[in-house]
């Protein structure tokens, strides 16, 4: 039984979405539970990909292909989780702050979060502070993740934190920021709850933040 899960995981890491889809179906036929396939094959596979990316053994295109393979597996599983949806580790609202169209870093964090079993609401680029908060409230998300690559747009991150404080929401919605010009010091200055220096670190921080909400 473990063999097929390891097999899925391996093909996922190689970015072979067709094989992942086939093997996921086969595993279900062999009566492996959807939860087990999700956790021990798909999430485990993305975990390996995340580690390899972090160690610079692979690059962005490999991660994108692996993510495609992960989604192919999840598409097979989704109908089986219909009642409660695919079980999640928590909800995260993600976006690149207003005026910023550099979203590769943010997309990567989104992929890794989904790979780690989180539900991700991606607001895309050029997101206004009010929108981050509006959606987080409406969806009851535990974490808002903001990315910026342009120095000129970083102050928007501070405004999101300010607005959360004003609405008294900082205990149930946590904030994490990232992006090339962003630093630990800047996060402390604006009062963000965490700073993710790369995508893998961001995922670790978000796991911790979810325990606080």
């Amino acid at each position: 039984m473990m063999d097929i899960l390891a097999d899925i995981s391996q093909h996922l890491a190689q970015g072979d979405h067709e094989r992942v889809s086939q093997l996921t179906k086969k595993a279900l036929e062999q009566h492996t539970s959807p939860e087990e396939i999700l956790n021990k094959a798909l999430i485990e596979g993305m975990n390996v990909v995340g580690t390899r990316y972090r160690n610079h053994e692979i690059f962005l295109p490999d991660v994108l292909l692996a993510a495609k393979a992960m989604y192919a597996g999840m598409d097979v599983l989704r109908p089986l989780f219909l009642k409660g949806g695919i079980p999640t580790s928590g909800k995260v609202v993600l976006g690149t702050v207003q005026g910023d169209l550099h979203d590769i870093g943010k997309n990567l964090v989104g992929i890794m979060l989904k790979g780690a079993g989180f539900e991700v609401i991606d607001l895309g680029s050029n997101v206004a502070p009010e929108k981050f908060i509006g959606v987080a409230k409406q969806e009851d998300a535990g974490v808002i993740g903001m990315s910026a690559l342009l120095t000129t747009t970083m102050p928007v991150m501070g405004r999101v934190v300010e607005l959360l404080k004003r609405e008294g929401l900082t205990h149930r919605i946590k904030t994490i920021i990232g992006g090339a010009p962003v630093s630990e010091k800047f996060a402390a200055e604006i009062g963000a709850d965490a700073y993710g220096y790369d995508s893998a670190h961001a995922i670790e921080c978000i796991k911790e933040l979810m325990n606080e909400v």
Binding site: F59, L60, K68, G99, L101, N126, T152, M154, P181, K185
Partner: protein, 300 residues
């Protein structure tokens, strides 16, 4: 003006210009607005930028067309105005420098990812670049600079598009590398050696690197490029990764710091030296003086 490539092949070294975006923002470019949209509404702003760099000593100025390919402009629903946007940018640069500097047409990434890891067909990307190149080259630029590329396939499609419009237009192609424990790679996993080979094969006359993380890394990248290729080299470094003083971004590398190290780029054999993010007319002034000082020494 003397043919740019012939001049560089004879061993001349030319100084490029510095950052465009920062000055555009100072002149009122709003968050969320395409920098190239100013070519429609206020072309005099890009003209002023070119004039500032010319006065500082730049011998090549870049057009405000980094995001001027229709695929990139479509993020702002401006793709239908590709021709106007690119033509106005060349006219603005020309009216600033006349024949006192070369005009380089800037062409940056499309913002799309190619198949299979993204959803864009190579042919769509090629046609997008070709449409932009057609306007830029017809409007009379002296060279094309495909820059800030991280995907080698995308970069080669842009180079080919320029050469297909005009086989005689000098084309430079520069990629952005990051320092990793395994060496320099673009975010898409392209090494310096792969970039050199791929860009050369695609027909680029000048190859190199731009943006990045400070001029000291650029010196290392230039050395690697020199080992890989006989092609002319171009380096346009940023002034390091910005740090924050309150809400104000400060780029760590001063004009003096960068100028001192520009001399090392000259000694490695780089033909075009300019700036990227965070560099100002003050940086270009110092770099020009530094380049001139080592150039004179070698002439004696």
């Amino acid at each position: 003006m003397e043919n740019l490539l012939e001049r560089l092949q004879k061993g001349d070294i030319l100084v490029g210009d510095g950052a465009m975006g920062t000055i555009l923002i100072e002149r009122g470019l709003r968050p969320g607005e395409a920098p190239e949209s100013l070519n429609l509404t206020r072309p005099e702003v890009a003209e002023e930028v070119s004039r500032l760099y010319l006065e500082a000593g730049a011998q090549i100025v870049q057009t405000n067309t980094f995001g001027g390919s229709p695929l990139k402009l479509s993020f702002y629903s401006l793709e239908d105005r590709t021709e106007e946007i690119n033509r106005n940018a060349v006219l603005a640069a020309r009216s600033a420098v006349d024949d006192r500097a070369y005009i380089s047409a800037s062409c940056g990434p499309s913002g799309r990812l190619l198949k299979p890891y993204g959803d864009t067909e190579p042919d769509d990307l090629y046609r997008s670049f070709r449409r932009q190149m057609r306007v830029l080259i017809d409007a009379g630029v002296d060279m094309v600079c495909v820059e800030t590329m991280t995907d080698l396939t995308e970069a080669t499609l842009a180079v080919k598009a320029a050469k297909d419009v005009s086989s005689s237009i000098p084309v430079a192609a520069t990629m952005t590398f990051e320092a990793t424990p395994r060496g320099f790679y673009t975010v898409m996993g392209v090494s310096v050696a792969e970039a050199a080979e791929g860009l050369e094969c695609a027909g680029a006359d000048i190859i190199g690197s731009n943006c990045g993380n400070g001029i000291e890394n650029m010196i290392r990248i230039a050395r690697e490029l020199k080992e890989q290729t006989e092609s002319l080299l171009m380096i346009q470094s940023n002034a390091g990764i910005p740090q924050f003083l309150g809400n104000r971004p400060v780029y760590p590398e001063t004009p003096e710091f960068m100028a001192e190290r520009a001399k090392e780029l000259v000694s490695i054999g780089v033909s075009i030296i300019g700036g990227c993010c965070g560099t100002t007319p003050a940086h270009i002034r110092e770099i020009r003086q530094a380049v001139d000082s080592v150039r004179q020494k070698s002439d004696n």
